[in-house]
Amino acid sequence: MPTESLSFIFLNAALSNNFVLALFLGLCPFLGVSGKLETAFPMGIATSFVILVSSILAFATNWILTTLEIEFLRLISYIVIIASAVQLVEMTMKKYSPGLFRALGIYLPLITTNCAVLGVALLQTFKSYGFLQSLFYALGAGVGFTFAILLMAGLRERLQLADLPTPARGAAISLMLGGLLSLAFMGFAGLGAH
């Protein structure tokens, strides 16, 4: 188990190695759902929650798989866990908060194919984090994802008023903005130095 402190792991996942802007995980919702602030925020929260649940489940599964020495099943088990976690979140939300459930609509089941979720599960295994470390890693990843998607949504709302040349409208300018945000986040790299 690596000796990194919990606060370092959290900050590393949220800022200096931001999941979206530095590791390129979870780009599809980052580009697809960042048009408006009011959909971007619940999307960030729901994804963070799935990341957290599946990270805990993945930790337990990895322990079982390692004990039984059947690590080659890791990828298949993780993806099944994530799909079930998304289903769980969907059912809980439907029961206790139907309003939010309707607002998120199709985006909820699509969290299954969000690479950030599988990314957290795989990376915490590669880095052989302990339970608490995995938990903080997952929390940081969720916060980082929400932060990035909110920043992007805010920028894109303003961009609608800008006078852009026609070919640049849509995807091209969003990617350029992503590049600039990513450049800004590189500045956080100094946080990693001791």
Binding site: F24, L75, I76, G178
Partner: protein, 210 residues
């Protein structure tokens, strides 16, 4: 199904994925590996080939079992099929080249959640005959590989002054390092999209003038 599906295999089946429905430039799918592993041309090429293999193999298997898989559990079945092939690729790359394996990192296993593969399984392979699905999947795979190469080549030339590891400009070239770092991926892809959109609009305007 009410309408009859064309079972013939033509060049169009293959070429569809190459240009008209190019997964990266037109459909904007599979963004994560597109941006993450294209910091050098060789990484881009191997990622493209690995994805093509998974795409073709899973397309074949899904098309073969398309009448056996109950529609309620189809997504889960598809993803387990895909995950099996990805595990195979993962172990194969680890055996062939450890340097490449370390360079691609978690992104080999993340092929599972590449939306292109699940998208093709759901939208194409589950409705067509095995051979036709394979041809279409191969076309999509080649289209994806070409798109990755477009990014990888530009980023490696600008960011490291080399191509496939061969130095191009000599010792005096000052590499534009940011291009091989994360921001470069966003900016280069944005640039390519801008270029294609500009060409498309110019062509449309010419047609209007005529």
């Amino acid at each position: 199904m009410s309408h009859k599906i064309d079972t013939r295999i033509s060049w169009d089946t293959f070429l569809e994925g190459l240009w008209r429905e190019n997964p990266v430039f037109v459909m904007m799918l599979g963004m994560c590996p597109t941006l993450a592993v294209t910091n050098s041309a060789i990484n881009a090429l191997s990622m493209g080939l690995a994805t093509t293999f998974v795409l073709t193999a899973s397309g074949f298997l899904v098309a073969l079992g398309r009448n056996l898989i109950p529609s309620q559990v189809r997504i889960a079945t598809f993803i387990v099929i895909i995950a099996t092939f990805v595990t195979m690729v993962d172990y194969a790359i680890q055996a062939i080249s450890l340097t490449l394996y370390n360079a691609l990192g978690a992104f080999i296993q993340l092929i599972v959640v590449n939306c292109i593969i699940l998208g093709r399984a759901e939208a194409y392979a589950s409705k067509h005959r095995p051979m036709k699905s394979v041809v279409n999947a191969a076309g999509m795979g080649v289209g994806f590989t070409l798109a990755l190469l477009c990014l990888g080549v530009v980023r490696e030339i600008l960011g490291a002054g080399s191509l496939f590891g061969i130095n191009l400009f000599g010792a005096n070239y000052e590499p534009w390092v940011v291009m091989v770092l994360p921001p470069g991926g966003f900016i280069v892809l944005g640039g390519w999209l801008l270029l294609f959109e500009w060409f498309k609009q110019r062509k449309e305007q010419r047609l209007l003038v005529k």
